[in-house]
């Protein structure tokens, strides 16, 4: 059963990934992705950022994305944790973890979940730069990354 959480608090990567394999012996592979706040974006120094979301729809869309990953690959479990609110450079933003019997399924499903999260889950970033704050624009390259999983 996929686990989805949207929260302000930080998360412990090791402890969260452990929930994908604890008390079971059928897991042969766990793949994970951790997204972090960088101090530079598009040539702008970043002092911090604020993440907004659509309570209810965001969780639903993450659950749908995980369900689609489970339908496409042989997965044993999956996990998505995404933070909202104020974050500083170096802070963790998102964790995706996927477990399966073999690494191929886990690697691909983890990348798929991130690509779909980037283009479908309702989150919006506002960056604080020395010149003021600005909403981050969606990138065509993210649409391209999600596109390749079609058909």
């Amino acid at each position: 059963m996929p686990t989805v959480r949207v929260q302000q608090e930080d998360f412990d990567v090791g402890r969260e990934l452990d929930t994908l394999m604890r008390d079971r012996v059928d897991v042969g592979a766990v793949a994970s992705f951790v997204g972090l706040v960088r101090d530079l974006n598009d040539g702008h120094a970043i002092r911090g950022m604020t993440l907004e979301h659509y309570p209810g729809m965001t969780e639903k869309s993450l659950e749908d994305i995980c369900a689609e990953a489970h339908a496409r690959w042989k997965l044993l479990d999956s996990l998505v944790i995404h933070r909202v609110g104020s974050l500083a450079p170096g802070d963790r933003i998102v964790l995706v973890g996927v477990s399966s019997a073999h690494r191929g399924d886990a690697f691909e499903a983890c990348e798929f979940i991130m690509d779909y999260l980037k283009t479908r889950a309702p989150f919006w970033k506002r960056e604080d730069t020395p010149e003021g704050s600005r909403w981050v624009e969606a990138k065509a390259s993210d649409d391209g990354a999600a596109e390749r999983w079609k058909g």
């Binding site: 659509y54 729809m57 995404h82 309702p122 989150f123 909403w135 981050v136 969606a138």
Partner: protein, 84 residues
């Protein structure tokens, strides 16, 4: 009545996060709702001008201009998403 929600840069430019409005007509669609929002004064026509990039969700599912809306629906407008 339907509930309208606005997020992120759209919420800021419209200076509105939530409102209740009457359906523009029976058998209404998202397109009809957009038409009525465009007819308002202030920042509304520009925010929903053709070519402006926004997304719409009806009852927390991604939708489009042809999606029907009915009394009690929750309709959200927001810019393209930038999470992760």
């Amino acid at each position: 009545m339907v509930t309208l929600l606005y997020f992120a840069s759209l919420r800021e430019s419209l200076r509105c996060s939530r409102e209740e409005v009457a359906l523009p007509s029976s058998n209404a669609t998202v397109a009809a709702l957009i038409e009525s929002l465009r007819s308002r004064d202030g920042p509304w026509p520009d925010a929903f001008a053709p070519g402006k990039s926004w997304r719409v969700a009806v009852n927390q599912r991604m939708a489009d201009l042809a999606t029907p809306i009915k009394p009690g629906d929750e309709i959200a407008f927001f810019p393209p998403v930038t999470g992760g």
